[in-house]
Symmetry: C2
Subunit: 466 residues, 2 copies
């Protein structure tokens, strides 16, 4: 038998479909577009709608969205970004909005409501049953990035005294509406969380076993006010599919599921990486969806701030101008020293920031980190300096005095840069600033000042100038 690859290439199928849809759109054959869309699952349809919006416009995306069968349109809606969702809501009719919101999972609905103008929210709430209205209002009160905002109130609540058979029947009855039924929760009369039990335990246990005997009594929980980053750390640490969220009295108010956490992790990582790269406030949008002005707004402030630091760097050079003109060859090694200082500092700050983000480094490890960095820096500094000494004396044919100045400076600069690179993020965390801001560009500016200062002081001492 020939070794033919039978696995369908999903990306290729996607690309072919979207090409076809673009052609059909040009010819305004919307119903054939819809049929092409319906060959895919809801995630892919949502991605295709976004592609259509980018290629054509919002109007035509909404035309296709409305052409989808109602039940599919809700699933597709749930996969769109909140921005796209709001734009759609602003165009479609009130009954359509109502249908979508009714069918959405509770936590997805809250995400949409949070972003809508309050007059539209009020209009929607007037047609909602009173009990659900109260629930919605409670959820809208939680902080945007808290466990409360992330959770869903739809979970399976079992009696401690129920048998497995009764429990499974109860799940069969209510299960359809719950976002996840793989972990069930046992509450006392005051809604306090008494234990959790997995659907797996229920399914593999004898019918007559008692829930209270099978349940796990000491579950890992999140508090409603916990930051979403803490919640996602719990998932990474324990590998659970869902984590219960409790209030101050240990009453169960909702659950967070792992699929929502995958999104949180991506969001938090992007925020960290962007801050480390000197970009602020990219407002959760995709690169290509942001306008030129939004990009400028996300980048200019940081560049301006860092530019100010170069007023100081410039001042350092200016105060040393006379000495520099005596030994102009010193200028040649300025970029080398500034660059090496910046790179050394960036390495340390990157490792410490990431270590703190993954929980490998705690604030209590401050002294351990410092002591490690000093030793690393001395070894790295001496290696780099030795190579540079040879280069300056034998390749550049500069006097040994200049070489000694550069190499001693380099060792001192690497040590200071690595110390600052490891200390700044920890200090930032201690005083409540995001450590990720203490990386790349910030680091480079600080080490530039230190590098030049060190260099010129050394030159003054060794070459007797300045």
């Amino acid at each position: 038998m020939e070794n033919v690859n039978l696995v369908p290439d999903m990306d290729q199928a996607y690309d072919e479909s979207i090409e076809k849809i673009f052609e059909l759109m040009e010819e305004k054959k919307y119903f054939r577009c819809r049929d092409e869309l319906l060959k895919h699952n809801e995630v892919e349809i949502a991605e295709m709608l976004v592609d259509i919006r980018r290629k054509f416009d919002l109007q035509r995306m909404v035309v296709l969205f409305r052409a989808l069968p109602k039940d599919i349109s809700v699933d597709v809606f749930a996969e769109l970004s909140v921005d796209d969702q709001i734009d759609i809501i602003n165009i479609i009719t009130d009954p359509e909005i109502k249908y979508i919101l009714d069918e959405l999972d509770f936590d997805d609905m809250i995400d949409v409501l949070e972003e809508l103008p309050s007059n539209i929210v009020d209009k929607i709430l007037t047609t909602t049953p009173k009990s659900e209205r109260r629930l919605i209002n409670t959820f809208l009160k939680y902080n945007e990035d808290s466990a409360g905002a992330l959770m869903t109130p739809e979970y399976i609540n079992l009696k401690k005294t129920a048998t497995v058979k009764e429990a499974l029947e109860h799940i069969k009855e209510v299960g359809l509406d719950s976002e996840t039924i793989y972990t069930c929760y046992v509450l006392d009369r005051g809604r306090k969380l008494q234990g959790v039990i997995s659907l797996k335990s229920l399914v593999i246990s004898p019918d007559e076993a008692i829930v209270g005997d099978l349940m796990h009594e000491d579950p890992v929980v999140a508090h409603v006010d916990d930051d979403q980053e803490e919640v996602s750390d719990l998932f990474t640490r324990y590998g659970y599919l869902a984590i219960p969220v409790v209030d101050n009295e240990f009453r169960l108010v909702g659950i967070v599921t792992v699929d929502d956490i995958l999104e949180v992790i991506e969001e938090e990582t992007t925020e960290d990486i962007e801050r480390m790269g000197g970009v602020i406030d990219s407002t959760d949008r995709e690169y290509l969806d942001m306008s030129v002005w939004q990009h400028v707004k996300a980048r200019l402030p940081w560049l301006l701030l860092l530019m100010c630091s170069y007023f100081i760097t410039g001042g350092i050079i200016q105060s040393f101008e006379a000495a520099l003109s005596q030994v102009i060859s010193l200028v040649i090694y300025m970029p080398l020293l500034m660059g090496t200082g910046g790179n050394s500092g960036t390495q340390s700050s990157t490792l410490v920031i990431r270590g703190m983000a993954t929980g490998d480094i705690e604030l209590e490890d401050f002294l351990k980190v410092i002591w490690k960095e000093i030793r690393i820096a001395l070894i790295v500094g001496v290696c780099l300096s030795s190579i540079n000494y040879l280069r300056i004396v034998f390749l550049d044919h500069n006097p040994p005095g200049v070489a000694i100045t550069v190499c001693l400076s380099m060792t001192v600069i690497v040590v200071i840069a690595k110390l600052i690179g490891s200390m700044l993020p920890m200090v930032a965390k201690r005083i409540g600033i995001d450590p990720a801001l203490m990386a790349g560009p910030m680091m480079a500016s600080v080490t530039d000042m230190i590098s030049l200062g060190t260099y010129f002081i050394m030159a003054g001492l060794i070459l007797n100038i300045g």
Copy 2:
């Protein structure tokens, strides 16, 4: 009622226990240590053992590990890092090894076997049943970072013609040993994947319904050779709990579960961030567990490589030395231009690298990205230049010629830096290099050369020197 916070502070409970354990260890009261450990779940016990190893030594960690009840010791073992696992295996007896490996989930066992020296693996395999030995050997053949290495062969296999009742009974029989039973798989006689069905569907459907009618026929699959990053993208995109892994003939060979993916995501993100910060090959270890020499090995090569680029930068300055000594005040603005160039480039490369990692930016978007960056760069460049012009003329009291040179250079540098910053990662990806290497330090070195070159050419043209 007073508003007392009844939620136990898990971190605090952990800290108190570990303090107590440290004290008991000093007094060599190992059995009381064990009792203290057993108050926690397996994840926390594993973390405590690591703390004990750090505070004391490997020997004492193993003493405590062996004192744990057998069933708990396996769960704890599974939570340890592979390094710790191997160190333990090298100390404990063969029957203990055999017990642990037998009880471990299949994919965790493969992870351990992969790292063991082959003579130990052979010794273990001689006592393993033949069928399992063949399975182990197959799994050991997959690439370390592929779907094949990540998957487990333990999954629930249902007949298409079975009723829900029969299916649930089958799950009850075999379920206990499977790592996840929340998604079940329907195979034909040739083991080709025909469909998937969630345990949820089974539990909420009537007893007499047929699996074939309920199953989802077109499941998302991964191929055994897919890179783990592609597999984790599938999870982020679709939010599933498990994804089936198939071979070239579409035969099901295993499944990957979301809890393993959370670890992959953390690992891949750390690798990306570290590479962006100029650290290579940190070998998946935690910062504090790496020796000083391992840290030097992860940092020195990059610093050496980048240092070479400063030979070129130095050369550029040298060739301009005579002109510089004519207008020494030009030196003052060198750090400003190099720094702003580096920061502008870093911003662009960070956004593009992250955009490609999350799938927001594709290689086909090359021209769109370039066009966006040019417009952003022009706006940013002109803003920064205007402010600098005022500073140079009115604060530094330097001649307008110098100011014009600096400001024109700055605009050109920002444009070039942003172009290179966005193009380099995309070009790298195109030719198969990790785009994350084209960030921070690398970017800074390249833009330093460009900044100085541009500056000196501009100075030559405008100030008529050089």
